[in-house]
Symmetry: C2
DNA sequence: ATGCATATGTTAAAATATTATCAAAGTTGG
DNA sequence: CCAACTTTGATAATATTTTAACATATGCAT
């Protein structure tokens, strides 16, 4: 039943399911079973069924779920059809890559502008988005009711930028800087911490060579 | 006690601890307590202590851990001092950003080269790294014993590239493409799935506006 | 010295998450 | 129309993670 609060782990798996379903597109299969999805992802089938139950209506025994319908429900739950405005701060290499990332709109994310403190940079345009000077940030956020801020500045400036964002009404921060951010109650920080991924990769290799 | 296998959750927190410790650098504090770290990150202190116990020697009651020592142990555990070679496939915007990312060496990752199938692109250099044609991939991997592959190609080519990598001896794949990859037994895929982060952000906003 | 406050580290309890089991539903083929 | 088979969805068991409680060690102030 939708409306219930959902665990972060389940939430993280939902996009994976969607990926699998998208991968099946064009094969003309009308139905998909949770079992098949589970197998494709190397997961337990009960996990998949439970996860799906929290976002979707019912599957039909013996046949499974209607693929398109399920995709729609997942997309809806993930907010892909409810686009949110966001701004990005820090138009360096990574920031530019994100500004140019064409698929965000499909995920319900619309970056309306980038900001940078470097006069060499602001005034230019990247990925069709204007880069503006920092001074304009609070005004634009307030005016447009922007709720999502993306931080791609060097670590030493991240906390300052973070404060500016939350002070301008931003409620969710996607942090690519390698520092821990302190935020007021009620604001979410989602760290895109490459170091975490690297740690997992590195640990895998270490384990592998320890055991064999 | 080091040597034990460690949970992915603990592993994910270790880089966070390191960030906090780095943040404390230059404050002249010789000791840090697990309690302080926990507070900075909004975690339970016992979690921190347990996690630290799995990578570090002992802390001293009343004072905590020697900050520098602990940092060293974390870095060692995370493999920062044991640099691994990697190659990157797909020299688009994102690929270029990663190739130019100067901090990877600090994390023990050394990207030795990029690969791309576009003749317009290969032959060039990005972030000081050569972009080579795909044909050279298997040879280079084997010759250098490369274990880590980074995939930044469009989704539709990712599985093919993945197969090429694993076929060339790669054991750990860092996947930035938005598709699920199938790999042989023993190979790890670490998905850097932006959609997951976005889902978490979006869900936070949804919950927030539902409850207040 | 002695007591007090702070931090560690261990053990136990509680909460979550995963996996297994099973009944009911529904489809297909005879 | 019945039996076999597949898949769902619920319930129960297991495993894992987090949190709480406590005993012990250490430094510091009196």
């Amino acid at each position: 039943m939708p409306g219930r609060s959902i665990s972060k782990q389940t939430l993280s798996r939902l996009p994976e399911y969607l990926r699998v379903l998208q991968g099946l597109e064009g094969q003309g299969r009308r139905y998909v079973s949770a079992t098949a999805v589970a197998e494709a992802l190397g997961l337990n089938d009960v996990v998949v069924r439970k996860d799906l139950a929290s976002v979707s209506g019912a599957g039909r025994p013996k046949v499974g779920y209607v693929r398109e319908e399920l995709m729609g429900e997942l997309e809806h739950f993930l907010g892909y059809d409810n686009t949110q405005d966001a701004i990005l701060v820090g138009a360096g290499k990574l920031g530019q890559a994100l500004l140019s990332y064409e698929v965000f709109p499909q995920y319900g994310l619309n970056i309306v502008a980038g900001f940078d403190s470097d006069p060499q940079v602001y005034g230019s345009e990247v990925g069709g988005k204007k880069i503006l000077p920092m001074e304009k940030l609070p005004g634009l956020c307030r005016r447009m009711g922007v709720r999502i801020g993306i931080i791609t500045v060097p670590g030493e400036h991240a906390q300052k930028v973070c404060g500016l964002l939350t002070g301008s009404g931003v409620l969710a921060i996607w942090n690519f800087a390698n520092v821990h951010l302190s935020v007021p109650e009620g604001v979410l920080v989602q760290n895109e911490n490459m170091a975490v991924s690297l740690a997992i990769l590195s640990n895998h290799l270490k384990e592998r060579f320890r055991t064999k």
